[in-house]
Symmetry: C2
Subunit: 290 residues, 2 copies
């Protein structure tokens, strides 16, 4: 685990409105409460989720709509990509504010953010935490510990917003990483979207053939490899639609390699090369987390 | 976790020779020492591994070759598939014994076992434990706890050998499961071999494109999905070569599904169906381990 970034003693924002208290939004709320108890945390969600979040102390104020409270200086949109895009033009503020999001793709959202009122500054965001199951019930304050949180500021238009957001996500234990929306979407197609689709396709393929009884004879390997297979469809439908070009190229790469391997199962060399490459990159991957 | 099978108080074998003290062979040794301290455990491996295994108490006797000790009533071949096939005709016994193995494919090994001397009874075996890294250093007594251990007895020719082996692997905490070699290889192509090749291909594809720096921006999903990517090439080269027909069909299935998904990224329905299928089978998979 890389050494954590220094956590600022004072909160970089006074009052946050979190729109969507699912796994990510709920974990942001819990984490802020732990790091900066003085920071005000308001939530927008269904009445049932708001009651749960208020009851557990994750938020201290339930907000009925996007008519943000007068003291808010940050809005975090924690919803699937299409909902974020639909929410953006509806955000009304009583004062200048910073708006960010946690959507898994960034190009479409950053484009849509141009429709925001002029007194709102938008910086795209994407925390790479994630858990096996979604929803506020699975939220936890350490969800982002040691994980990257990508920010995509829009040059001079973002002012000091990216700096303040970096301080915020450092406080949540994450590693802030600055990227352009293009670079984000291309990289995520490989390191996030391809693993998700591969895990889902593997689980569906194995389940459809082996059936429930056959799955009982599986080892820990299938279990680990398909941990992502219970990810929520609504989140990923939007990711696929808004990053289809980049994900398509990543899928092409994987399909080409699997096709090579299929043709070379009887010959040792292709399998040897596959395992050597995989072990080398796995070693690199572990360096980033150990 | 299913309730464990009853563990026999007396060891079902008096004295075992384990050929190959890697992750699996070493874990069998450690597990036997824990459950049945009176059972004799001999090992065959390189001098360095034997010294390590003797020093840690995993075995109580180092054997120089396959000239098995006079008291042995069980030989366990814990090596990659091709080595098992080469070892089989070389096993010499001073008395009738049972021979089993832990190879990841069964048809080729069971065929080769017909070359064993007449006083040796062979029953194929395959424990679905497995760990991220191989070698005696990673062996542990609970490697098989709650995991399936498939046995492929050869009808009446196996006599009571399968019953005694079932008692042994139950004692190691595993769930003995009887199957034909054909059924084993077809099922494993899906629940074990396909996940391994998919994890390796995913890691190689992502690493080759994202590079070491890009991997730093990955989330926990890639980490889990590629846990198998450091598996040893020698083990898997043999598995691929000896189960190429069944693995080829499994790869065809996965490639076809990935190709469908690639064509349907922009349309919600294909992605929705993929995630619904995957979540359903993931739920079934978890029933077997929770």
């Amino acid at each position: 685990m890389p050494s954590p970034a220094p956590v600022p003693a004072d909160p970089p924002f006074r009052s946050i409105v979190i729109v969507g208290l699912g796994l990510i939004g709920g974990s942001v709320a819990l984490s802020i409460r732990e790091r900066w108890p003085a920071m005000r945390v308001s939530g927008v969600d269904t009445p049932a989720v708001l009651a749960h979040a208020l009851g557990s102390g994750a938020i201290d104020r339930a907000v009925a709509s996007l008519e943000t409270p007068g003291d808010a200086d940050l809005v975090l949109l924690a919803a699937p990509v299409q909902q974020i895009i639909e929410l953006l033009p509806t955000i009304a503020a009583r004062q200048p504010m910073i708006v960010t999001d946690v959507g898994g793709t960034k190009r479409t959202i950053v484009d849509a953010a141009r429709a925001l009122p002029a007194d709102l500054t938008f910086v795209g965001g994407h925390p790479l935490g994630g858990g096996e199951r979604g929803g506020f019930a699975f939220a936890r304050p350490d969800l982002f510990a040691g994980r990257p949180w990508i920010l995509t500021p829009d040059g001079h238009r973002s002012g000091d917003a990216a700096t303040r957001l970096s301080a915020l996500v450092s406080g949540l234990g994450a590693r802030p990483t600055i990227m352009t929306p293009d670079a984000h979407d291309q990289l995520m197609a490989y390191v996030s979207h391809l693993p998700q689709l591969t895990a889902s396709a593997l689980m569906a393929t194995v389940g459809n053939r082996a059936g429930a009884e056959g799955l009982l004879a599986s080892g820990k390997g299938l279990l680990d490899t398909t941990r992502l297979a219970s990810s929520p469809a609504d989140v990923w439908r939007d990711v696929c639609a808004t990053n289809a070009d980049a994900i398509g190229l990543a899928l092409d790469d994987l399909i080409a390699l699997l096709t090579d391997v299929r043709a070379g199962l009887q010959r040792g060399e292709i399998v040897d090369t596959l395992f050597a490459d995989a072990a080398r990159w796995r070693g690199e991957l572990l360096k980033g987390v150990e």
